[in-house]
Symmetry: C2
Subunit: 753 residues, 2 copies
């Protein structure tokens, strides 16, 4: 992972092409550092067949040079060939070195065509986020490339320094050696003056500035940033601010501030596992080059172009894909784009209310139209804009204007307790079962998610009767007219990783749709419009593209966001069936869905989403997915479909944790692991989970547990919700990393025990 | 502008470097096209000192070859040097050719280092959105670059074809010519078979596919897209869908469908001026390479990283810049990021409500806290999420759940009528003036915006008395407790480009703040928290960074979006003063501002915003801005500040239009031109403006009026709001384009007259 040391200033040397003088100029830099009185290291790594091994080897070598905190040293890491020259593993230099995130000196090309290759190389570096501190090239008096490149790069904040080219090679080795030595003495004179020394000083100052900047960031952040969802009264110390210098794959590279692990280690960055998948958005690892290129591609072709009554390829192709091969398959006919899950849900709510009000138009006058309510589950969360909040019951995520509009069932839940799968019924439902038990042990997790089987069970009838009676009471009461059913299928994330019994959700849907449910067309809503809020779970967060396959039914409206753009930029899509769409069709502008955001369907977001879906298609049919699924496979007699519950987390690990005394329950589903700690004061204000697992965040000093790229020990950044600690993987987290995270979690829980 | 013809398949040939065989392989392609029986054009443009002249010359030449709709021809445009080799104007090839947006054959580099330069060149092309249809390179048996490049590009959907290299040059010219001829016959045999012919066929199929795709897009769009703010019942014909193939600067390149301007012109793309600045977002032209690179840079360094309790450079530096040198200067202490203007306003509203409720805590119990209202102006619009809508009165942009919470003044407005500046008073205010007149002619536009002067005028006292009395009535009545004042300063955009008398807004603010207004600290709210919704006008849409300088006062909370990211990706920022921030500070998590979106402060958005602000800094102090300002300068005696009203639109043009019979009024301010057409049925449903100006959209066939890059005539894409037609420029629209737009608008209005 990203390397940065207080007393070791490292620069990697990339060449704009082969034969541009990389070795000569690197030697000059090495000499200059030495003349300037620094101890200096030179490294020319050889590539090896795998990228991980390469990064680990280079990092380990660099680390061994960085153990002298008492003196300031320089290091130059010379890469091979041009920026995109292939390594033995098949990736190119730029991608192979990226995990180390070393600042760069780019050796420009001084020959004919060298302006082009220098700029193109620079842009390829930018696409990978590299810091380029200087451009260095030979002063070829014929082509004079430096004359063009100097102002070009000055405009981009990068100094260009040109140096006399070396003498022509002599056939006599002795003469050649002498001439070469003269050359070096000319460009790196002993008096320590000249262009090369200016470069050295500049690189030193870049290093110092970066350190100072990192050091100032916690204070400056505390002084100017207003964080989402954070009580700033709780985060007052600089050490509490997580300074993310860069990110790669599953890891942040974070500033360790004054928390240097040991006196002999002057490293100031450390890897940190992004254990919440950056608020559930991360799908294929941070800084994926394909996504960066997709963003650039659409930015370069369109910028943003306005969308109403218009069309462009990225939006159109994304819409078609989501409808035909995505979560909308089989029921959706239209895609409406917006910016985030919350706006996507506001759109969904507006769609549902209108569809309901239009069909019931005879009865619903102006006043009644305002008084429409939502049917949902307790613990729901659909985003923070006020309309999305109003679709949830009063709770902690609310504000002065919150007005809970609707009715919310207390749902049964699924969890693993002491190695057993348990369906926990709320008292009102438990009271209606034969034995009045609130906790029902089921055969297995996979059986619990086998809806077809369970629909025949007595519990299904209990659910049905309970729901029907409750809805009848609602109709008879003075509450609002219920106009839509909104569900977060399978799990209510923000509400506390509540895994709802899928049978309950399915029965609820069936009851709401009424007797015609079985025969209805999937493009026609019946009973109430049904919205699936799949912002969190959609697109394989739980290993499933959509919950529809598992629940055995489709919604009338659904919302996707988060993973949709692979964890890079915001975008949401609200899919709707034809019957919903038709409710807005008329000859009157006022009947239209008068909702839109300036950047609706912006090409960058749509293109990045498209690229993400391409990558997901490959990933979800990959060998590592097959292996992970295999582990959770149920024994033969218990046949379940391919879409069954499974997880990247090891079943054995999950069961072991679930048996710990201070663990109330556990769930693992797809990329999600949630651990509920026993705690008297549950709820949003609980700190017990946080207190228990705080230590996981800090780096674990054990080389044996070090699968972060670069071989360093790593901390885990994760989030808690009340007394639930949850961990999330991206869809391509390497199994070795998953195992390492499991080991740490287990070790901390065990210690506490 | 972008060139695409039905019967002329054009490819530009870019080289991954100089001397890679561009000319040889282009010749081979030309030969192959000829052997395959097509008429074929070869073009090797010379660069000229300005990019516009270059593009115009190339486009004009290409156009002259495209006048034979009866036969299918090929054209190859060979560029010079590598992709980034400089042109005479100083830009590089990639940027110089970009306006033409020709599909590309990239000639790969078959030499040592050629893998790197080929990939880097490809990525540089992607950053500018280019379509790369094929990679062609020599089959060098020693380096065998094609072996690496073929699968590499196959993964990216681009075929790689390798061709035997040419023979070595002979000293004898005759022998050389003969050998060369043999070489060409080998790689382009007369039998029409072999790799080069496969390339030709592939290029033909790419061309055909692109045409078919464009042709299918209208239908597919009508079948799958649900547009924002559009009554789909009104847009049923394929011809009504604006298919945007690409964009550059101020222009879309749109598909002209079956609307070919003349039988001899088989062009199928035409330039269209983006006259609404793509819903008011566009600031520095579409597809600006610096913004694409900024997006790529942040994507490559971070992807997205979660923000609560964390920090990264793009977000931190943007927050500091907005607070210290941006719209927050002098009053704001905190930046809260969200995704769009609407979410930014929801955040602002939550901030204001809490700040008010906290200070008035003694009196405000739970129920009262819900019953807080907003003070605003009729015609306000703050976005489409339901909370933002609830801050506006009932109107057309509403939905079932809309619940207008507050009171909205009918404001006086400013406009230019018959060449005179007029302040129009609503009846209730007019009744309070000495002469009861509703229309007050003022000295000039600049005087009208000179608040300091006008605060001493009798009208200021009329405003003050009226506002004070109204607020007192509100307090005495049964309405909600007013908890915040929300203003769109200077102009209410979505409400119909209503330019509010700035004196009224200033007096309203002063009255709301009460007697302590003059002495209050700018970081302490008094009376009510005051929100400036500067989503539309902020960051120079009106030529001013913020309205604060003109209104002579600062808000307690402000929201910026749209231009913030230069018209590329969504991002909003809510700035708040210290007193607002402190209302959420406590030791209890529940008191925090519990609002956030998954991609809050995503690095790509923040980095793009930063780059935009850099560019704006240069632009707003540029010569063209000085010249535009100069035109609107008032005569000496009438001294106004540097921040006075001015516009990119020519004052003479504005005055002439304002004097037309069927024009009710006009306003020009910064980049905005709004023309209100006389119409009985005003309001959102009005079509009169649209009907009148419909013809502006279509291409105007007059070469004399052709400043679009590429010299083609262009249409204007603009929007209407009721009976108002408005036109918007970006901040760097060339004066020649502004003049051309003015000429067209004038011509259409004149014709109608």
């Amino acid at each position: 992972m990203s390397l940065l040391f207080k007393n070791l200033r490292i620069h990697q040397i990339f060449g704009a092409n082969t034969d541009v003088g990389k070795t000569v100029l690197t030697s000059a830099l090495v000499r200059a550092s030495a003349v300037a009185g620094h101890s200096v290291y030179y490294l020319k790594p050889r590539t090896v067949p795998t990228d991980d091994a390469f990064v680990n080897a280079v990092a380990s070598h660099i680390r061994s040079c960085a153990t002298k905190p008492d003196m300031f040293s320089h290091m130059y890491v010379e890469t091979a060939g041009g920026v995109h020259s292939p390594t033995l593993s098949g990736t190119t230099q730029l991608d192979a070195y990226r995990p180390l995130f070393l600042p760069t000196v780019l050796i420009g090309d001084s020959r004919l065509g060298g302006i082009s290759s220098t700029i193109a190389s620079y842009e390829a570096m930018m696409l990978r986020g590299y810091i380029v501190d200087a451009v260095l090239l030979f002063r070829d008096e014929y082509y004079r490339n430096w004359e063009y490149l100097s102002p070009y790069f000055a405009e981009r904040g990068v100094p260009v320094v040109s140096v006399d080219p070396p003498p022509e090679r002599q056939s006599d080795p002795k003469a050649d050696a002498s001439l070469t030595e003269h050359y070096y003495q000319d460009i790196v004179p002993d008096n320590g003056e000249g262009a090369i020394f200016d470069v050295i000083k500049h690189l030193d100052s870049c290093h110092t500035r970066r350190l100072e900047e990192l050091d100032s960031m916690p204070r400056r952040t505390l002084d100017s940033i207003w964080w989402p969802f954070v009580q700033h009264g709780h985060v007052k110390r600089e050490a509490d601010v997580n300074i993310i210098d860069s990110a790669w794959g599953d890891f942040f590279s974070v500033y360790n501030g004054k928390r240097s692990p040991s006196p002999s280690d002057n490293s100031i960055l450390e890897p940190q596992f992004d254990g919440s998948a950056s608020w559930w958005t991360q799908a294929i690892g941070h800084a994926h080059p394909s996504l960066a290129l997709a963003a650039a591609r659409a930015a370069g072709r369109y910028g943003h172009v306005m969308f109403p009554e218009a069309s462009h390829l990225p939006a159109l192709k994304l819409a078609e894909r989501l409808i035909q091969d995505g979560p909308g398959r089989g029921w959706a006919s239209r895609a409406f784009f917006s910016d985030d899950g919350s706006t996507g849900m506001e759109v969904a709510i507006k769609m549902a209310l209108r569809a309901f009000a239009t069909r019931e138009a005879g009865q619903l006058g102006g006043a009644r139209r305002k008084d429409l309510g939502i049917l949902g589950l307790k613990g729901s969360y659909h985003g923070d804009t006020i309309g999305a909040m109003d679709a949830c019951e009063e709770g902690v995520y609310t504000c002065e204007w919150h007005d809970a509009k609707g009715y919310w069932f207390d749902p049964p839940t699924v969890s693993i307790r002491k190695g057993k799968t348990v369906v926990a019924l709320p008292p009102a439902i438990a009271a209606e079962t034969e034995d009045g038990q609130s906790d029902i042990e089921t055969v297995s997790l996979s059986w619990t998610y086998n809806i077809d089987e369970r629909l025949k069970s007595p519990l299904a009838s209990v659910y049905r009767n309970y729901i029907e009676r409750t809805l009848q009471k609602l109709k008879d009461g003075n509450g609002p007219t219920i106009a839509a059913l909104i569900l977060e299928p399978l799990v209510m994330g923000a509400g506390g990783m509540i895994f709802v019994d899928p049978l309950f959700q399915r029965v609820l849907i069936d009851v709401v749709r009424g007797p015609s449910a079985a025969t209805r067309s999937s493009s026609e809503w019946s009973g109430l419009p049904i919205i699936f809020d799949e912002v969190f779970i959609g697109l394989y967060r739980l290993g499933l593209q959509t919950s529809s396959t598992l629940l055995g039914t489709t919604p009338d409206i659904s919302v996707n966001a988060k993973i949709l753009t692979g964890g890079l930029v915001p975008l949401a899509v609200t899919l709707a069936s034809d019957s919903i769409y038709r409710a807005f069709l008329s000859d009157d502008k006022v009947d239209a869905l008068l909702h839109g955001h300036s950047y609706t369907a912006y090409p960058v977001g749509c293109e990045v989403a498209h690229e993400t879906l391409d990558i997901l298609d490959k990933l979800t049919t990959s060998e590592s997915w097959r292996v992970a699924r295999e582990k959770w496979k149920v024994p033969e007699p218990e046949k379940v479909s391919e879409t069954s519950v499974w997880s990247f987390w090891d079943p054995e690990f999950v069961h072991v944790v679930s048996r710990m005394d201070h663990v109330a329950e556990v769930m693992a589903f797809g990329t999600v692991l949630s651990i509920k700690i026993k705690d008297e004061s549950a709820g949003y204000q609980s700190h017990s989970a946080r207190a228990l697992l705080e230590s996981i965040k800090t780096a674990v000093q054990s080389e044996a547990l070090s699968p972060a790229p670069g071989g360093s020990p790593f901390g885990i950044h994760y989030r808690t919700l009340g007394n639930v600690a949850y961990f999330m993987l991206s869809l391509n987290t390497p199994p070795s990393v998953v195992r390492a995270v499991e080991e740490r979690v287990w070790a901390v829980l065990e210690k506490r025990h």
